[in-house]
Amino acid sequence: MLIATWVCFLLGILLGPILPAPLYGESLDHKEAIQSLLQEAKKRKLWDDPYWHTLLHYRRNVFLLKKSDISHKEFFLSPKGRVNPKAELEKTIEAFFDPIPEVDTDHPQCRFIARYRWLKETLDFPESVQEASCKKYHYWKDQIDPKSLSLMFSSYYLNNPGSMYGHTLIKINASKSKSQDLLNFTINYAAQITLGGPFYAFMGLGGGYRGNFAVVPFYVKVQQYNNMESRDIWEYQLRLNEKDVSGLFEHLWELQNVRKRYYFLNKNCAYELLPLLDAADPKLGLSHAFRYRTLPVDTLLVVEQTPGLVTKINYRPSHHRQLLHIREQLTPAERSLVKKIALGKTTLPTDKLSVYPEERQAMLLEAAFDLLKFKISFFRNVTKKTKKTEQSILTHRAMLPTSSEKNIVPLPRPVPPHDGHPSGRYGVSLGLIDNGDHDAFQQLDIRPALHDLAEDSAGYISGQLEMFHLKIRHQDKRNKFYLHSFSIVDIAALAPYENWTQPISWKFRTGLEPAYDIRKDPWRTNSLFLSGGPGLSWALTKDKQTKFYALSQLDTAIGKEFDKGYRYGIGGNIGLAYRWNRWVIGHAQVSVLRYPGGHVSNRVREEWQHSVPLGKNQLLRINLIRDNHHKEGLISIHRYF
């Protein structure tokens, strides 16, 4: 018996290494491996590592407790994972040793491929750990072939409410030649609008919508932004190496089924790209720069200002911009001819075209096609007549030589969006009121976004977009602090008129402001107002920076100081927005209104604002207002943030 025991023992020593381990030995090895890794993680407090927090989207909430922005339960392996980085890390390590099925897509090593890669690099994983093939992920990655990244910005477009603040997305550049840029893919984050109409604002501000990532071919986005929405696209190529790009891609894979709460003001399309970039390079820390307010242009600014991150900036002008650029090169007779061809009112006037050289004819026909496309917004469900016009234009174009004159004058590149003034602004003012009695006042104001007509529009929209502009005053003689006004939104879209695209200009504003034409203290006459109307504007200078406009105006307000508690009126608003050089920027306007309903009255309001930029981050402003009997003047210093 003793000899048999010794024989078995010696055979086990000699043969043990080459024989397959029994099952109980495997699980013992795994358990030991897991324990070893957990101990190592504990020793290093790996759950506090910034990269772990980046991958799990942990942030400190208002109570300074760590909590993931992601509420999607399937994103966490531990039931406490959302609020406990340690529990999630431990559960993740354990889960990587789960048995691997034949189809391993849902195995934690594949579902959380970024976590697996990072933990494997950071901890001493045993060589014996069984690895999932993650075929699906690798196939997807091979097809998209990520080699480098660009941050894209599609510009503001005031004539589309969904485009007013611009948009950012990431382009994944594959290892193809430049001619195939359109075939690259983009990463886009957007909300699923489940309930619209009157609930849109509340749902959006309160996180009632869910957002998710989508991977969309770049050509789809170019069609959407450049053509259908007439927005410029800016590309900021990023200096991230292949390993960094791979890190972002792996994390994107982890987020594919995740739905996060979408908040219009901060956790929006612009913000959610930042954790992805942080996953690429943890040293960036981009997402930590934003908490309560995230505008696309601000995220662009942070990226552009990160030393060495942006290597090159490319520009794709919108269809509209290209169209107007060509128009400027044409004579009045040519413009008229192009318009006639585009509108298809007659058969193609080949006799009128033939007087031009072939390259010029080519340019005119292309312009006519572009104008036609603009008029129908690239919509495909068009009339037979429109289709016939398109066919006629292109068939004739095909008969002409390839070269045309359209590229003789290169399209000037506008100031890039990151070179514009920062989006937020606050200010301190000193002023004087004269409404029969002189009174000095001090004013504090803050405007989280974005731009007004008396600011330098370089890099910005051709118009005005202000949100949540708050003004608080103190009047000396009355010794009174009061809320002067709160403008919820104040928009002016002033697209200079020309007879090709025939744009309409318009204004819209709403909020709380004093009704100065009622002879009472402004804190007593604060009213909720809604005002606006369409009209036209004209560029007075070649650079279109100086514009004159004439708009109709509907004006309604409710307030306890009005007779019957409300008023409504109609009138007109004319103005001049000017920029002659960087020192001479301003806006002057006059409104004449008649209120026939509610509080019956007449009103004439004149206002002039003149600005002098003091560097990129400060602004000196003079403001003069007369509103019926009320007169005031103030001088302000504003600072951008």
Binding site: Y219, E366, R397
Partner: protein, 164 residues
């Protein structure tokens, strides 16, 4: 009266806050329906639906099964957005492609030529061919992208050296 005032205030808020929303509509959905919808043929709509499911995040980034013919995969298991990449590109960019094929130059037609298999050296030649054969490719105003592709196949039969 107070209720009316509150409701009036809220209704005033709604459009203004809505205007603050920025680009928050479902990424790609609207444009997908524009680029791939309103087609007269079912193939175009099918591609549109497939792409909607695959790219726009209503499902996962890739089909849960690569071996079935459902959920946007061919019977060989290859996703349709891979196997029909040429057709998809032509459908999505049809308007601009038409123009550049008539013009004989441009980013879209060059990319299209590359997708058809032309090398960098042959792209200009293929683009010129498409320009010269424009009336064959687009015989009338109702020519769809599928019909254009069929006509192009016929033209390329006698110019196969331009594509690999």
């Amino acid at each position: 009266m107070k209720t009316i005032k509150i409701l009036t205030f809220l209704s005033m808020l709604t459009p203004s806050i809505a205007l603050a929303a920025g680009n928050h509509t479902m990424g790609g959905c609207g444009v997908f329906y524009t680029l791939f919808g309103n087609q007269n043929n079912s193939k175009g709509t099918q591609i549109g639906q497939i792409l909607l499911e695959w790219f726009v995040g209503t499902g996962s980034f890739i089909s849960s099964s690569m071996s079935t013919g459902t959920s946007g995969c061919t019977e060989s298991g290859e996703p349709m957005w891979v196997s029909r990449i040429v057709e998809t590109f032509a459908e999505a960019n049809f308007e601009v492609l038409k123009k550049e094929m008539a013009t004989g130059e441009g980013e879209y037609v060059s990319t299209f030529a590359s997708l058809l298999g032309a090398t960098d050296e042959n792209v200009p030649g293929l683009v010129t061919l498409m320009k010269n054969e424009y009336t064959v490719l687009f015989p009338n105003e109702t020519t769809t992208h599928n019909e254009m592709m069929d006509h192009l196949s016929g033209v390329l039969e006698s110019h196969s050296t331009l594509i690999s």
